[in-house]
Amino acid sequence: MNNLTRQQIAWRVAQDIPEGAYVNLGSGMPLTVSDYVPATREVMFHSENGLLGVGPRQAQAIKDMNLVNAGNIPVTLLPGGSFFHHCDSFVMVRGGHIDISVLGAYQVGQNGDLANWDLPQGRKAPAVGGAMDLAVGAKKVFVMMEYFAKDGSAKIVEHCNLPLTGLKCVTTAYTDIAVLDLINGKVFVRELIEGITLHTLQAETDVELHASPQLALLKPPALT
């Protein structure tokens, strides 16, 4: 049983992004999704700091720190890209113009509730960024996460007990062992890695899991 690496989860998300989609990638793990979109497929990456048509990272030699994505990574802009200010950027987000938002998650409720930001905990300063706007504004919200939390419990839960980011917003959860669609308050398992069955997964998950009509094997390529 080989759990997906973070790169393989990013690869799996990328497969579900269709040509022509407008996609926002959250900071951290989601930012790597663009690396795995097939080169033949034109996808428009939006960065909430005012970029549309984000291209690959800058070559080390360039280092233009006025051309960064929302994770402060120096990127390029594709021909046909554009710059705009923060209000216009969040008109795109809040106004429903972004097709897919890819976010990290601490917990996902079976009703699609998302918990992915930090209220003050211990000594960490709070930060929400654009996550709440993306959660409610994007047409689809894909989350990327490990299936299990560090304490061994499934991150897909009946009711989130961490601070919420948005209500009933998650469309699909991409994890290291399964792809889960959240539809009308139910969790449908669409893909599972080799060596795991719906039955064995259910045994370790509190919420009820349903088999998706498309239930299939989750088999990523080897990636480094």
């Binding site: 428009m44 549309l52 594709l78 554009s82 106004g95």
Partner: protein, 226 residues
């Protein structure tokens, strides 16, 4: 490959059914999508609701739709049409319903819809006949009225240049309502004077990013590129 370019105005307006609610850019007679409106006339579409600053004073497009009774409802800030009593005649015959909205309120109500905002409070119009029946509310001792977002099915806009991703730039005062309307609806159709290659519009100078534009139609095929 993403290609939002359609072959002709006729192809573009085929999407628009009878009874559609349309945002149409333009101010007095500057920046109207005349060829799209003309194609809509030729197509025979009827029972349209049109949201525009004013009925175009040009001879093509909206004038023909109005003349032939295809527009049943007009939401605008200024309903007069110079050199004709067309609007007066339509109003008198009862075939045209009219709503007058202050110009800035019209622009902001259109933006609201595209920005996920259900409406906005404004001091504009308070105490005037246009505030009748509207929610009033005080903020910091000033009275405001609530103006709801305007929802439409299509935006028919006019731009100077466009590319296959739908990025647009405009020509001077012909910009007016066009970028605002582009943001507002799920289906924006842009009539452009010129098609240009991706990247020809400097990313700093794109006024309407392609995310707000679903279809692009050029009126000058001479400069068409892909």
């Amino acid at each position: 490959m993403i290609n939002k370019i359609l072959a002709s105005p006729a192809d573009a307006v085929r999407l628009i059914p009878d009874g559609a609610v349309l945002l149409t850019g333009g101010f007095i007679n500057c920046g109207f999508a005349d060829e799209l409106l003309e194609a809509l006339h030729v197509q025979g579409t009827r029972n349209l609701t049109v949201i525009a600053n004013n009925p175009s004073v040009g001879e093509r497009g909206m004038s023909h739709l109005l003349r032939d009774g295809r527009i049943s409802r007009l939401i605008c800030s200024y309903s007069r049409k110079e050199g004709t009593t067309l609007i007066e005649d339509l109003l008198e015959s009862g075939t045209l319903a009219l709503e007058i909205v202050p110009q800035g309120t019209l622009a902001e109500r259109i933006r609201c819809n595209g920005a996920g905002i259900p409406g906005f409070y404004t001091r504009t119009g308070v105490g005037t006949p246009l505030a009748a029946g509207k929610e009033h509310r005080d903020f910091d001792g000033e009275t405001y009225i609530f103006e709801p977002a305007i929802k439409a099915d299509f935006a028919l806009i006019r731009a100077l240049r466009g590319d296959r991703w739908g990025n647009l730039s405009y020509d001077k005062a012909a910009r007016n309502f066009n970028p605002v309307m582009a943001m507002s609806t799920a289906v924006t159709i842009a009539q452009v004077d010129e098609l240009v290659d991706l990247g020809s519009i400097d990313p700093e100078h794109v006024i309407t990013p392609g995310i707000f534009v679903q279809h692009v139609v050029a009126t000058s095929v001479a400069t068409r590129k892909s």
